[in-house]
Symmetry: C2
Subunit: 443 residues, 2 copies
């Protein structure tokens, strides 16, 4: 493999093509085809000539510098801002004093990480990331616990997912552990921006953008990985309020063979009109349904969970299986891990039913309707970094509402237990190896 | 309608929701929901408060300034470059001396159009367009004919499509005629960049990007519409060469309810890995198939046409119907218009069969296979701004190739005729109202 296309991409390509069936000649073709990265060109005919032209000039990526946190350069912001009062925070509009940037180039590999004053990025107007959505990102949070300790929640999961996402759209992968080291440095420098009020946090947004200045559609040979931070308030300002979902089959968030299972920019813009329509119809978010069977997939910006009483009387926690169309959420994974530990008896959790069964499986609107009609739809909730765990009170479907009883506490017992268990680990109330320390507390 | 959400979006929303069934209350909700544009906020609960918060502060968009070419400000580039020799052009990598920018803001409407030196755009690192693919564009060309006259080809179609695209992802629409006036000014200023060699042109790329600096996912309240230009060579450097397509069903370019029918950034990044895989398997481009029936949709970056001998002996020119999943190409529309004029007898075209039938309809791989087996698959070609008209020589499907005989001229008679007719109108060899004059020739 002589090109700079990431190993992740290569393995994706091999898996899809069926690596066992690749002849030596095909492998060679595969290798050559990926010279695309270094060669903006037009159309099929030009591809051929580009392959020939660049075949001997692209460096072997295994010899190129990887992402290296020890090369970090820090330029402190001489003009520090004052963080606004926490009660005036609006999601994603206030940014801290610094940002982290790391350039990548197919000829020279990963460049020098730089923490520098937050500010505009000079962008070539022909940057392919802007024109063709060659952009992937993560959403994570830094939390301050009661002792003043600052932690990240399972950042390794975010780095693994970002690597998966960028490879899906032919951008370079990177060493996740090195990146976490760099993110910690950024968060430490701007730690005074983390609100101290309960439920508040610092939203951390890593993003990678294809920056090669070409209008050709193909793998980029330049990219910028950067991280910005924004202090945010709790999702629920006061009490928990159940959300209303609109079963949505007129729009598709993600189809099989698309990018629904990856956190890429391309998944988001197409979903805004459906969101506005759901609001117009009196709902809070879309419940994305797939195909003629109306298979449940995701909710707006969250993964979906349902609690059912099964026909044989057990309590089943169901979430749709990923099937390469659903975003593999970190909160989703954490809920599944906790629930499975409880169900197996490995770590019992107070508040969860003794007979809990945990399923990742296909579930259709017909099944949800039937369960509701038979009084077996106990709870529905969404899970994500922003909303943590968010109860669902009704689902609009076929012109009616399927109502889920959330009780006087606004959420059923499984939902409340999961919210407590996840937030407990995020804010240090429950000791957990999922909490990765950025900075020790002062108490 | 008190908000700045475009009428196109509103009509989309109304159409989808079913405007006839909207009660007055629902209409009010719809109107309020679109305040999203002015209000970055998080989640469903915040949406409610944002609605209340902004309900009285957003200006009525009908009173805001529209795009106005008479406000154009021109700052000439003091440092003009020398265009490279035409034989060294690579698609989309060389840019001219100037660019056109027009800012938009939900509070102040369309701002001052500015033609200025080509250069970097200062980009806020939290610009939502970058994070969420709120970006849509056009591909058009300026041609220089033998007399030196400079024209655009059906620019009204590109402007109409861009308006459709931006509305689909909740960006503001604009007056297409004003925009064409501005594009003409830009092309005139950089007209010496249009190569004079046959088959060369100036590729013109209008793009609109959501620039509001927020990590909230919703309609943007700031956008930048800009235009850059790049001199390009012909798609085929020498003789016409048939391309090979790989029937692709493991990936989905666009699903019903997605954005396949709109020229938005989000359609492109997800298609690069499939393109690399097609190349790895020895093909030039993907033939995107949809669903279990393997319905033909598009080819890589082109629309698809087939010429079939029908079972009753007629000649049928088939292209898949748009079905809101296929990009409505300007070249596609032009070919259909010419073919229909010929078929109806309105304007006979030499080289097309006398018994031509023109169809926009669903066509499956099973039908293509059957037609090929029975000797009735006469021609296949792609059509687009870049490739113009591009013959297809084989289609990989189910591990075999469906071969299309392109003859010794590299393309069948319908393909060659359409290439001649389209290029003839683009380069002024055939007089046509589709050619819109930017600058008269000197002869």
């Amino acid at each position: 493999m002589q090109t700079s296309v990431s190993r992740a991409l290569r393995s994706t390509v091999c898996r899809r093509v069926g690596v066992a069936t690749l002849t030596k000649a095909t492998r060679r073709t595969l290798s050559l085809s990926t010279f695309a990265r270094s060669s903006p060109r037009t159309g099929a005919v030009a591809v051929q000539s580009a392959r020939r032209q660049y075949a001997t000039t692209v460096p072997d990526p295994s010899t190129l510098p990887g992402l290296d946190a020890s090369k970090l350069k820090v330029t402190p912001n001489p003009d520090l801002k004052t963080p606004p009062p926490s009660d005036q925070l609006t999601f994603g509009t206030t940014f801290t004093d610094h940002m982290l940037t790391i350039p990548w180039n197919s000829a020279t590999g990963w460049g020098e990480p730089h923490i520098k004053p937050f500010g505009d990025i000079p962008m070539h107007p022909g940057s392919m990331g802007i024109h063709y959505a060659i952009s992937a990102f993560e959403g994570m949070k830094a939390y301050r616990d009661a002792s003043g300790r600052v932690t990240l929640f399972r950042p390794d999961k975010n780095m693994a997912r970002l690597n998966r996402s960028v490879a899906r759209i032919t951008m370079p992968t990177f060493d996740g552990a090195e990146m976490i080291t760099l993110i910690k440095e950024l968060v430490k420098l701007d730690a005074h921006w983390i609100p101290t009020e309960p439920g508040h946090s610092l939203y951390v947004r890593p993003i990678m953008l294809g920056t090669q200045p070409t209008l050709y559609v193909g793998p980029t040979n330049e990219a910028l990985l950067y991280v910005i931070c924004s202090p945010v308030g709790p999702y629920y300002k006061t009490a928990i309020k159940p959300v209303a979902l609109l079963g949505t089959d007129m729009y598709t968030r993600a189809a099989p063979g698309g990018t629904g299972g990856y956190k890429v920019a391309a998944n988001y813009a197409p979903a805004i009109v459906p969101q506005l329509e759901a609001e117009a119809a009196g709902y809070d978010q879309n419940l994305w349904l797939l195909g003629p069977e109306h298979v449940l997939t995701e909710v707006g910006s969250m993964n979906l969970f349902l609690v059912l009483k099964t026909k044989d009387g057990k309590t089943e926690l169901v979430t749709p299986d990923l099937a390469d169309i659903i975003l593999p959420g970190v909160t989703r994974d954490s809920i599944l891990a906790l629930a499975r530990a409880h169900a197996s008896g490995e770590a019992k959790i107070a508040g969860l039913p003794a007979d809990l069964v945990v399923s990742e499986r296909k579930i259709t609107m017909a099944e949800v309707k039937e369960a509701a009609a038979e009084g077996r739809l106990l709870e529905v909730f969404g899970a994500g970094t922003a909303a943590v765990v968010s109860p669902v009170g009704r689902i609009g479907w076929e012109g009616k509402d399927i109502v889920v009883d959330c009780g006087k506490e606004g959420a059923g017992p499984v939902t409340r237990t999961m919210l407590r268990e996840i937030e407990g680990r995020q804010y240090g109330r429950i000791p957990s190896e999922w909490a990765v320390v950025v900075q020790e507390g002062t108490e």
